[in-house]
Amino acid sequence: MSYRIGCDVGGTFTDICIVEPNSGTASVAKVPTTSGRQARGVLDGTTQALLFAGLVPNAVAGFSHGTTVAVNAVLERSGAAAALIVTRGFRDILSIGRQTRPHLYDATIRRPPPLVSPALTFEVTERIGPDGAVQVALDEDEVAEIAAALGKAGCRSVAVVLLHSYINPDHERRVGAIVAAEMDDVDISLSVDVLPQPGEYERASTTVMNAYVRPVVRRYLDELSSGLAAMGIARAPTIMQSNGGVMTVASAGSGRAVQTCLSGPAAGLIAAQAFAKAAGYDNVITVDMGGTSFDVGLVREGEILSRFDGEIEGLPIRTPMFDIVTLGAGGGSLARVDHGGLLKVGPESAGSTPGPAAYGRGGTRPTVTDANVVLGRLRSGRRLGGSIVIDGAAAADAIANKVGTPTGLDVSAAAAGVLQVVNAAMIRGIRRLTVERGLDPRSFALLAFGGAGPLHAVDLARELGIGTVLVPPAPGLLCAIGLLLAPWRLDLAGTVIARLSTIDDGSLARLTRPLRQQAVDQARADGLPSERLTFAISADLRYRGQGDQLTIPVDAGSLASAAQAFHREHHRMFGFSRTDQPVEITTLRVTATAPPASNDLPVPPSNTNGDPCLCTARLMVDGAIHDVPVLARDRLVSGARFLGPALIEQEDTTVFIGRQPVEVDRYGTLHVRLPP
């Protein structure tokens, strides 16, 4: 037997999903995340999960892992003491950034300090021009002196970012070689390896982040790998990246460490895509709502929408990642009435302590969760994870005092108002991801996950004119499941700035060949036969003179159709195209993937014994109180159909259903139909 494990570390819990490949049956475990000692927590959790499932470690043939070690190192500023070497004249590149301030009116809000201290930033004499020509030769003696100083200072990770290295990397590579020769046991991150594209600040920020997290990630992965091996799990783990694919431990601990920084939401989207596809949907808006944040993602024509830039706490990071809009709206978001008399919800959150008033841990300020309690969507007296029992009276008091009284509304209307306002904020986020890109949300289904997503999904869909809401069987475990479904993936890019018409298909093949070869070499190093690789080529195109580009797939290696596709996409997104203008290519991209061991969705453990109806509850639906059934999710069998209103409860979430018909598909996903 060869079991596979998906292990996702979240802020509060580490989720472990074990799948038996033949039957597809899954068993899951949730253990508290041990911050600071993540490897220990993961190993203990894995041991527990195997015990619980009655398995021995040597039955495990794969361990796919999503880790927060890198992003935590950035957030907590606990990464390596990294150094930065830049072109002479540009030592303040990180401090100045783009010279903007984060808030237009609030002078107390500042840019984040750089990850590399000024004392560890060095300039070298050298200069390459925008055409790649060497204007000033590299002073190699200076580099050797810097390396010697770094060695003395005990520095073990060095980033090198020289101007225009994306077009001519010779100086950068030479600096790297000299530093490597002069220093023992040093990690070198060259910007041309991390991000070979123009825009020196963002390239430096990404390269420095790689240098900053790389030693931490490697130490963690070494500990994890040896721990798993000691347990008897021989196969080395694979690690999730922000682009939705996995890579080896060796890659994650080196030049691609930075790609684990924003991998958190990626696995969830992979699983969401798979459940949506199994349910028959290629166009899906995904909403993941937890305690403090709301993430929106998009699957369009079966593909997850991606982008190439993001940030962590104001530090830019340019790696391929899923395009996710995050808002500060969650169950813990606080509601208040402002000086102008308007009801505001979030982004301030009650956090885990004191948490919502309904949690009975001393919170008195009303939250979105409290509004859900007042309206009956979360039942008073229901036990949530751990010792929390929902206190309906406390929720009602908080809503009545802080929202009802100042607005003159009764407690139900006030609670409904809190939901309307938080939903309006979330709808704005969903529109940002769809309407701003020329996509009509009405042609999508809405797939909800996270602890709070299924409580709000029906309302969001109705406001947006969406016809179907999907709720996968284990909304709280999507990330762990997604890890098992993630392909091996490598994204490579090369800067090519030229008119598209000057590049024929032959030169396209010549330009992409080194990138393909690099992917084949990486696959070989990872023990992956190159015939399992699939290549996708795309190009960043723009009209001459424009700054922003659109990434357009280059089907069958032909550029002619790419130009046409660019005009069409430009028209769709912006309402016009300029076929009279020359089209420029700025970047060529090659994505290599290899499929996961199995694409099958895990079958949820279900309990077919017993009546799914647990009890009835009083629920506010469309402004009136109804007695509605409360159903146990694990007793809803495949093929079941019923008509709302209803509440569906499961360990990790509650689903609110209005007056809509619902059916359960064979993977356990709920389909809620909203009339047009």
Binding site: D92, Q99, A107, T108, G199, M573, F576
Partner: protein
């Protein structure tokens, strides 16, 4: 707000903000110039049927007060309302409140036969003619020298673009492709905004929408009133100078503001401010208003929603014919880059006495603009590089000022070095902070910064600097920031450039620009001999 549902109002606010943001996204993504697409030198607004600003996507504060009255001023100039299906463009400073490169596009939004509002955007175009590239040159004594000035023209009629107006812009610009590309992007953004507003009203229903929009403006007014009521009921006055002399730059022009809190109203009076001049440092009244709104937001309530309600509780008194309310035909090229920043300084100086807990020392005091234009020998095409540089931010009571950052009325991103060198015949030799230029204090002012550029082709260079002799002030015993300066280095040696100038420089010249640091806050602590200087450790100078 009697009779209006406070929840609906907040839901509509989110919807309107989305309309403005979607307009902004469309503009930034389709624009051709670096200035709009990367530096985001534009703003978008949504208006009620009576032309009041109800929502805005802001990137730079200077546009806040300018957009607020734009529809009203355009209609007054036209002596009629804008017909359905039309879109106006104009850049007359007495309508826009800004300088000539800031072009406004505005259109009514009609739903069936009903007018439901207006949408507009204002964007800084690269070049609209005039003396020198960038259309913001020195040497202008009247508006006629500064470039193409246009009253409201109907760029779009019955949904069709009038190509003759595009040609008018094209033949008046050194960068015709960029100007036309940007103008089309502005028009497309207005159409986007118009569509989105109609969709929003469809979702909400007209009556409910109209009531909510009015309530939204009222809520901002009320929220601001409650902030004003918390102020000591008193008057505070502050004066500072702009540096100006048509000959040698050694003169001074007084800027003075008196702020009075009276119940729930603020009275801001610029009496004492110098008369307008025959140079491009003048501002029209809407710009002054914009500075007042910025400082009120920054000092009283940074998160208050930006809409016309901000204007309801503030009386701004200006004397026509002064620098803050210049009359036609004054030149206004430097009104945003220099004048607006000094207006802010005096307003903040006065507010510091009303809100001592939020008091802030003076910041770099200018947008530190540099414009380089000429012909790129690589392409034989005209180019125009326009950029503003950040400086030191003023210190706060408990926080050092930020280093090398844009302050107050602007917040445009820098152009990446690699982008500058690809796009223009310019090589950047140095770009860094200037350690020690922040004023001393219990909290130090932010450091200014420097950029050294080598001109690889002969070029016309325009500089907008101020605070070259009058450094940004500290407060509560804090020291002043360092002054700004500009130097040209050629084979013949280095020479100081005038702070405000337009001049031709030969290929090979290195222009070194240094921006002023911010003022410090509080008396610097006494340090025993040998104690490490915490500033030195915290500043990049420590390396």
């Amino acid at each position: 707000m009697t009779g209006v549902d406070p929840i609906l109002v907040e839901v509509v606010r989110h919807g309107l903000q989305a309309v403005a943001e979607e307009m902004g996204a469309a503009l930034a993504r389709t624009a051709h110039s670096v200035n709009i697409r990367d530096r985001k030198d534009f703003s978008c607004g949504v208006f009620t049927t009576d032309g009041r600003l109800v929502a805005q996507a802001e990137h730079i504060p200077v546009h806040l007060g300018l957009l607020a009255g734009i529809v009203e001023r355009a209609c007054a100039e036209m002596r009629s309302d804008i017909p359905p299906g039309a879109m106006l463009v104009f850049n007359d400073p007495w309508l826009t409140g800004s300088h000539l490169p800031d072009i406004v596009a505005v259109a009514p939004v009609d739903h069936g036969s009903r007018r439901v509002g207006y949408v507009a955007n204002m964007a800084h175009q690269v070049d609209v003619g005039g003396h020198a590239p960038g259309s913001l040159s020195l040497g202008a004594t009247t508006i006629f020298h500064e470039g193409l000035r246009i009253p409201p023209l109907t760029l779009v009629r019955h949904g069709e673009i009038d190509r003759s107006i595009l040609r008018l812009f094209r033949i008046n610009s050194r960068t015709p492709d960029e100007v036309v590309g940007d103008l089309l992007a502005q028009a497309a953004a207005v159409s986007t905004g118009s569509r989105r507003l109609t969709e929003l009203i469809d979702r909400i229903g007209w009556e409910r929408y109209a009531a909510a929009a009015a309530a939204l403006i009222h809520a901002t007014a009320r929220r601001l009133a409650s902030r004003i009521e918390e102020l000591p009921q008193t008057t505070a006055c502050f004066a500072d100078v702009l540096e100006w002399d048509a000959q040698d730059g050694s003169g001074e022009l007084a800027i003075e503001a008196t702020v009075t809190a009276a119940g729930d109203r603020l009275i801001v009076d610029f009496a004492g401010t110098a008369d307008q001049i025959t140079g491009p440092l003048n501002a029209t009244r809407p710009l002054t208003l914009s500075c007042v709104l910025y400082v009120v937001k920054a000092m009283l309530d940074p998160d208050i929603p930006s809409n016309a309600g901000l204007l309801d509780r503030i009386d701004v008194r200006t004397q026509p014919g002064t620098l803050v309310d210049a009359r036609f035909p004054a030149a206004v090229g430097l009104c945003t880059s220099i004048a607006s920043q000094r207006f802010c300084d005096v307003l903040i100086g006065a507010f510091n006495r009303l809100t001592p807990d939020r008091a802030m020392a003076a910041s770099t005091g200018s947008m530190n603009a540099l414009i380089v234009g000429g012909v790129d020998p690589r392409t034989d095409r005209q180019f125009s590089y326009v950029e503003t540089y950040g400086g030191g931010q003023g210190a706060l009571a408990a926080l050092d000022g930020g280093d090398g950052v844009h302050c107050h009325m602007t917040n445009t991103a820098n152009s990446p070095v690699e982008m500058i060198e690809r796009a223009y015949p310019i090589t950047v030799l140095r770009y860094g902070l200037l350690p020690g230029t922040g004023g001393t204090g219990r909290c130090r002012g932010g450091d200014g910064m420097t950029r050294e550029l080598r001109l690889d082709a002969p070029a016309t260079v325009t500089l907008h600097l101020d605070r070259t002799h009058h450094p940004p002030w500290g407060i509560e015993g804090g020291g002043p920031g360092g002054c700004s300066s500009a130097v040209a280095v050629t084979e013949d040696g280095a020479r100081e450039l005038p702070a405000k100038c337009t001049m031709d420089l030969p290929a090979g010249t290195v222009v070194r620009l240094c921006t002023a640091g911010g003022g410090g806050y509080g008396t610097p602590p006494e340090r025993a001999h040998g104690d490490p200087d915490p500033d030195a450790a915290a500043s990049p100078a420590g390396a």
